[in-house]
Symmetry: C2
Subunit: 306 residues, 2 copies
């Protein structure tokens, strides 16, 4: 016989049991709990304020749609933005999910295409490099930052969840990538040409987000990107899952205790870990690792005048 | 057909191939290589000098017998010490391995019994506590330190290998035990009532040590302690093995890069991580976490006058 639980708030039966939090909640109270948890994350890390204009990077997956909905329900001004990478079928499908979601919830949503912006799409890059995932990440970060500023947004929000953060932390630690560890924090301040960046779902697990998305009938894209064959990331994700199985709550503790105890130690010495200081691209005036910046180099190559 | 290798030094066939080091060596040159590698570890971390009197903690296993032999072959004055924990059969067998080894190699070896020293043996403690492994570790560390000083040794050497160090590092990191991380170094200096402690095999893997022990016909005890049922430690050891399989060399890089890059950062802030400063036991004058110290409390309890 399956055990049934009563909601801690309304005593209704057939509630959802959150083992890690030792908490049983009905559907309605789960939704409220999840939103309050995200709200507490936002406040705890001083991510942003009511008056900030927020741009949510929307991929059409459960994480980005969930964070977008929660922010609006919590009363923040959060608009959606979709960067069309031009991946056949996948990009179209991703866009539709975002567009339909925006329509259902009456949210502001816009789409810009990588091809229009810099002259190439992701499949063009994919043919040239084996490291398409990290290149895609760098391109997205740079374009998001530039576009957010141009459109007058103060904050960029992404849907990174606890599982993402814990497994990438494990990877950073196993490789002792101190320059990443020193900046691994769920909010990065504005300044030096960067807008503020925040990850309000950093303390919410994949399970919790999926449940929230399903209870809210969010129609999201569950397929992974066809170009993502990031075996390395998968190894760390599996390692983290095994630790979680052996020591329930390990994933959350590992990440939260990092933020509380180890991050301040690394952050304090950040300057020492940076391989070289950031510069400003002489072509587009954006902050950059090299001059010209990645985006301007891709643009130049695309137009044949490097 | 099995691939055969030629020794890099003497070109002799049927050599041992060390994949991680991309090095093929015959038996004789492997032994020389292993010893030189340990010698370099000793020098790199400034573990001890020729004139230091060294006490090796001998368990009868491959690690402690190997480090003992290597130190003597490298010309250090290293005597063996066996603490008899009084574990039925196991302690006897361990002792015999150490005693016979000492006889074969003409080394100085002594045995003292926990029961004689503090009135109880490990099985007595095991009946009272579930954390017998960590208690055993604390008792051994305290007794070794006290006895080494009394017998005029400047350094205590233990056989901890790379696999031990990497998996305990992983455990410390996953739990962000900063007070351990800040002191996780293969040599700890003398001072404050402590003698110097060193782990010359910290960069040698289990595989390398086992091979060295076998090529030298070391008759060691391969059985684990019957009280060790340290499931937690096993989880981290398995995690580390999986990382090693996915990324060959990961274990060594994780540990060595920790020492090089992250340890200095943690060590610098050590004072902040210590929960409380060490004190001196008012009964035995040894350094201690509490007063009376663990050993004096066990002694008092054993003699019925707590």
């Amino acid at each position: 016989m399956k055990k049934t639980y009563k909601c801690k708030i309304c005593r209704q039966e057939t509630a959802i049991y959150l083992r890690e939090h030792r908490l049983a909640l009905c559907r309605g109270h789960y939704i409220a709990w999840f939103e309050r948890y995200v709200s507490r994350t936002i406040n705890q890390f001083k991510m942003f304020r009511r008056q900030d204009r927020i741009l949510v990077g929307v991929s059409g997956g459960k994480d980005s749609l969930t964070v977008w909905l929660v922010l609006n329900r919590l009363g923040y001004q959060a608009d959606g933005f979709f960067l069309d990478l031009g991946i056949p079928d996948f990009s179209e499908l991703s866009y539709f999910k975002g567009r339909d979601f925006a329509a259902v919830h009456g949210l502001k949503f816009q789409r810009l295409s990588m091809k229009d912006l810099i002259g190439v799409c992701l499949p063009d890059l994919e043919r040239k490099t084996r490291k398409v995932c990290s290149l895609c990440g760098a391109v997205k970060r740079a374009l998001f930052n530039k576009l957010a500023k141009e459109m007058g947004y103060q904050v960029i929000v992404t849907g990174h969840n606890l599982d993402d953060e814990a497994s990438s932390l494990l990877s950073n630690v196993v490789n002792w990538s101190l320059k990443y560890l020193a900046r691994k924090y769920p909010v990065l301040p504005e300044g030096g040409g960067f807008v503020r960046k925040a990850k309000p779902l950093c303390r919410s697990s994949v399970k919790e987000i999926r449940l929230y998305a399903e209870l809210n009938d969010i129609d999201y894209l569950a397929d992974p990107c066809p170009f993502s064959e990031n075996a390395t990331r998968l190894v760390y994700a599996e390692e983290m899952e095994r630790l979680e199985e052996a020591f329930p709550g390990a994933k959350r503790r590992f990440y939260i205790e990092y933020l509380r105890k180890a991050y301040p130690v690394f952050h304090k010495e950040m300057e020492r870990f940076m391989e070289k200081p950031l510069t400003t691209c002489s072509r587009c005036q954006e902050p950059a690792v090299n001059d010209p910046c990645l985006i301007c180099r891709i643009k130049a190559e695309a137009s044949g005048r490097l």
